[in-house]
Point group: C2
Chain length 172, copies 2
């Protein structure tokens, strides 16, 4: 359970932070205020880039906490700048790396309960939560963040999304 969750979250959060670095370089080169990128949405009722980063980090820290059976830290969602978002990502990385792996490894058959919006709660078995909630939601927000930047013209490729994955590439 910990091996199927924590490295994926760490890899994705590092990739997300690097995406923000590329957004910053692009904004500087094009003389665009970075807040234009941070406020871009792909549909009027979808989250902006800034909110996608908040959501991805929320899911990472909430997910690691639920699997470990501990209460997640609260974030205040006050970020406005690229620097503040990078601090939030770094804080989330530290948190994810601090969670007790043994507790996560014991979570596969445990029923996890978690808030869903202001009024409801969801309940899922630990391994279902990992496969059908945590990972798809985490990659959703990472992908939309990446796609917003592509949509805005930032030059990115799939490796910017995947991050520094442990793959050996060679000629066939």
């Amino acid at each position: 359970m910990s091996q199927a969750s924590l490295p994926a979250l760490t890899m994705g959060l590092n990739a997300l932070s690097a995406l923000l670095d590329k957004a910053e370089s692009y904004a500087a080169a094009k003389k665009i205020d970075p807040s234009v990128l941070l406020n871009t949405r792909l549909a009027p009722d979808m989250f902006s880039l800034l909110m996608q980063v908040q959501a991805a980090t929320d899911i990472a820290k909430n997910g690691a906490s639920r699997l470990a059976g501990v209460e997640p830290p609260r974030y205040e969602d006050t970020e406005k700048t690229l620097d503040e978002l990078r601090v939030r990502i770094a804080k989330t990385l530290s948190y994810v790396e601090s969670v007790d792996r043994a507790q996560i490894d014991a979570s596969a058959d445990r029923t996890l309960s978690f808030p869903l919006g202001p009024k409801n709660k969801g309940e899922m078995k630990g391994d279902d939560y990992l496969s059908h909630f945590l990972l798809p939601n985490f990659y959703f927000h990472l992908t939309v963040a990446y796609t917003i930047l592509r949509h805005c013209g930032v030059e990115l490729g799939k490796t910017d999304y995947l991050g520094g994955i442990p793959m050996k590439m060679s000629p066939r």
Copy 2:
């Protein structure tokens, strides 16, 4: 390994097929040719909706095959319509469900080798391939397909992306 891969692929492919059903209803209601939706891209050098569906199904059938240590079936990429894409998804679902789970379960420490474009190959350990290649790439294309439809105005929510996940929802 099979439990962390096959149910996620099945859930996602079923969600993708249902997204195409909603695209079809939307096109009919708005009197839009569905090919307009299928040819929409979120950046000029990103895949269209049609190609996102092809890519998601490719990754599902290739990923299940690589984990099981068998050669993936070849798809000819001739689809042009929603119906043809749904047939492709259904074929992929049948394939994913047919793969030998015991062979996948034995793949965590095996080194998998797979083509990367026309000239290169990638090599990864089975559990790394699942966590850092198969799942992030699969959710990438599923998310972009969903986001293209949201961008076009189709009314969708997160549950359309997640699919029929095994979650019990109740008041807090």
